[in-house]
């Protein structure tokens, strides 16, 4: 569905995409990761035919270089920042559905499937709508035409937790036939929306595989936070500190954070319960994606470690 061969894009002396090769098939859900400046947005802009490039790039069988307009017809796009639009939500829907020649009724239906009523919000000025609501409108517009490809450029970057969760739920309703490429800096987005992860580094593909394989390779692991009572706290700490499967142990009051590989979590919890340690609360904290890209994520990693009172084994 999307095929890049030797895709290269330079800005002056700086090479952003350096002979990138990648293939994404029909219906695949792919996360495009990489530190800032790795070339994710440039790749999207090339795919949309907005930037000239060298190499070959096809979207839905269309050569982007020779027919950018046709390529854009095949792509639904949701940007990081929703566009400022002067007018009401109805005006926005009418204008963009007009550009894509989609009947407004279909967008209206798509919006209602995502939990948004155009009847209720249509007369509101776009600037009065929340970022989450607007991103869902853009998603509804993007998929209303049954496009074969959906490009999502950090769509949840500016949303709060609740809006992000709503957007990700909405994303699950995108038809299976649609190829989705999502760029994000949030692991929960990637886990919720993608089956395959591509990592860009210096304009080239540095990783292609599943998320857990990437986390394992990079040494980034989730942390399971167990909240127990004070009497059992010492037992819990001793148990997990002696466990070879545990990478690090964090302490925060009566909570103990156990950093381990995803595949070990269930076994460790079974052992904890087997020792008769009461589990009052349980929470799994995903590692930040920033840690996978050393130049952008090191600071964030070290600051979170300091805050939690880390006890590294």
């Amino acid at each position: 569905m999307i095929s890049a061969r030797g895709l290269t894009r330079r800005f002056g002396s700086q090479t952003i995409l350096d002979g990138l090769d990648l293939e994404v098939g029909p219906g695949e859900r792919v996360a495009l990761l990489g530190r800032n400046g790795a070339g994710k947005t440039t790749f999207f802009r090339c795919a949309l035919g907005l930037l000239p490039f060298s190499g070959d790039l096809e979207v839905a069988g269309v050569d982007v270089r020779t027919d950018g307009l046709e390529a854009r017809s095949a792509i639904g796009y949701v940007p990081q920042r929703p566009p400022h639009f002067d007018g009401t939500l109805e005006d926005l829907v009418r204008f963009f559905s007009g550009l894509r020649e989609i009947p407004s009724a279909r967008v209206r239906l798509g919006m209602s499937e995502l939990g948004l009523s155009l009847d209720e919000h249509g007369r509101k000025a776009v600037r009065e709508l929340s970022g989450g609501m607007l991103q869902k409108v853009l998603l509804a517009l993007a998929v209303a035409e049954a496009v074969p490809v959906l490009l999502l450029d950090e769509p949840t970057a500016n949303l709060d937790g609740e809006a992000r969760a709503e957007f990700l739920r909405a994303l699950k309703r995108v038809p299976d036939s649609c190829t989705v490429i999502l760029s994000s800096h949030r692991l929960e987005d990637v886990r919720a929306a993608a089956d395959r992860v591509l990592v860009l580094e210096n304009g080239r593909l540095a990783f292609d595989g599943e998320l857990d394989a990437l986390l394992e390779r990079s040494g980034s692991s989730p942390t399971v936070w167990i909240c127990t009572d004070r009497t059992a706290l010492a037992n819990l700490v001793r148990l997990v500190e002696d466990d070879r499967r545990v990478i690090r142990v964090h302490r925060n009051g009566v909570s103990v954070g156990i950093e381990t590989l995803p595949g070990n979590i269930a076994d460790i919890l079974t052992d904890v319960r087997g020792e008769g340690i009461p589990v009052d609360d349980l929470r799994v904290e995903e590692p930040g994606l920033g840690g996978l890209f050393p130049s952008s994520g090191a600071a964030a990693e070290s600051s979170s470690g300091a805050a939690s009172g880390e006890a590294t084994r």
Partner: protein, 277 residues
């Protein structure tokens, strides 16, 4: 969807946007008030009766237009694309099945329609007063045509500045700079300098047609009355040499070129922006 339909959507969006903003009515009101004041005051105070008196009054209106119409057109045109780029909307627009050319032309047409509407509303009052007081309607219409051409020149220039600028403020600064160069320096300063250092008449004439503001002034004054001594030495010389019809048409042609060339140049330049947006 055809190119025409896409352009129409951008045109309508731009017109709707313009009608919602305050500048549209403000500009129409200022041009209306200024125009009526100049026509009424000019025709009442003149010693020349009949056609010549009103021709002088309309000449006052034309000079007011030289100062006001460029700003009236440059400000919304400068904002048109740069504002969309600044707030991230342009990338989303260009990610739709449209071309840069369609967005550019649609925006230009939309601002043009809005500016010409405001100008027409403003001119309607002074035109009515003029016709009511006996000025031939053909004369009033001819001046209207020159006013429309002048406004479109500055819409074109403003749209180009907007297309090439990253921010609205930078595009507006270019627009105001352009107004200063063409209206203040070009119209008065350069001609004064030419005359002071005794430039040849051909060079002065060429400059007059090269500067759209001068082309407008010469065109309007020629249409009003070539013998009115408002043309200045360059215009008078040109009219004597080539006749009033040729000079009026030449002025209109110069203005048309000033409308078209920036659009073509701007369209070419935006396609070469290194960020594609």
């Amino acid at each position: 969807m055809t190119t025409g339909n896409r352009i129409r959507l951008f045109l309508l969006r731009e017109v709707e946007h313009s009608l919602r903003t305050r500048w549209f009515l403000t500009n129409a009101a200022v041009f209306m008030a200024g125009g009526v004041l100049l026509v009424v005051a000019g025709s009442s105070g003149t010693l020349l009766a009949g056609h010549r008196g009103y021709a002088r009054a309309l000449a006052g209106l034309a000079h007011f237009a030289i100062l006001f119409v460029p700003i009236m057109a440059l400000l919304p045109a400068s904002a048109s694309l740069a504002e969309e780029r600044e707030n991230g909307t342009l990338e989303y627009l260009l990610a739709q099945p449209v071309t840069w050319g369609q967005v550019f032309i649609g925006k230009w047409l939309g601002v043009s329609v809005a500016v010409v509407l405001a100008l027409s509303l403003g001119y309607l009052a002074s035109a009515s007063v003029s016709v009511f007081r006996g000025v031939p309607s053909s004369l009033v219409l001819a001046i209207y045509a020159f006013l429309v051409l002048l406004s479109l020149v500055f819409v074109s220039l403003g749209t180009v500045f907007s297309a090439l600028s990253d921010t609205r403020s930078r595009a507006t600064a270019f627009g105001i700079g352009c107004w200063l160069v063409l209206v203040v320096l070009g119209s008065l300063g350069v001609l004064a300098a030419f005359i002071r250092w005794g430039a040849p008449a051909e060079l002065l004439a060429a400059w007059s047609f090269f500067n759209p503001v001068e082309a407008f002034r010469i065109g309007v004054m020629t249409v009003l009355d070539p013998d009115l001594q408002l043309l200045g030495p360059v215009g008078t010389g040109l009219v004597r040499r080539h006749g009033p019809t040729a000079i009026a048409l030449g002025s209109a042609f110069s203005l048309c070129l000033w409308i078209l060339l920036p659009i073509l140049g701007g369209r070419w330049a935006v396609s070469r922006r290194r960020d594609g947006v």
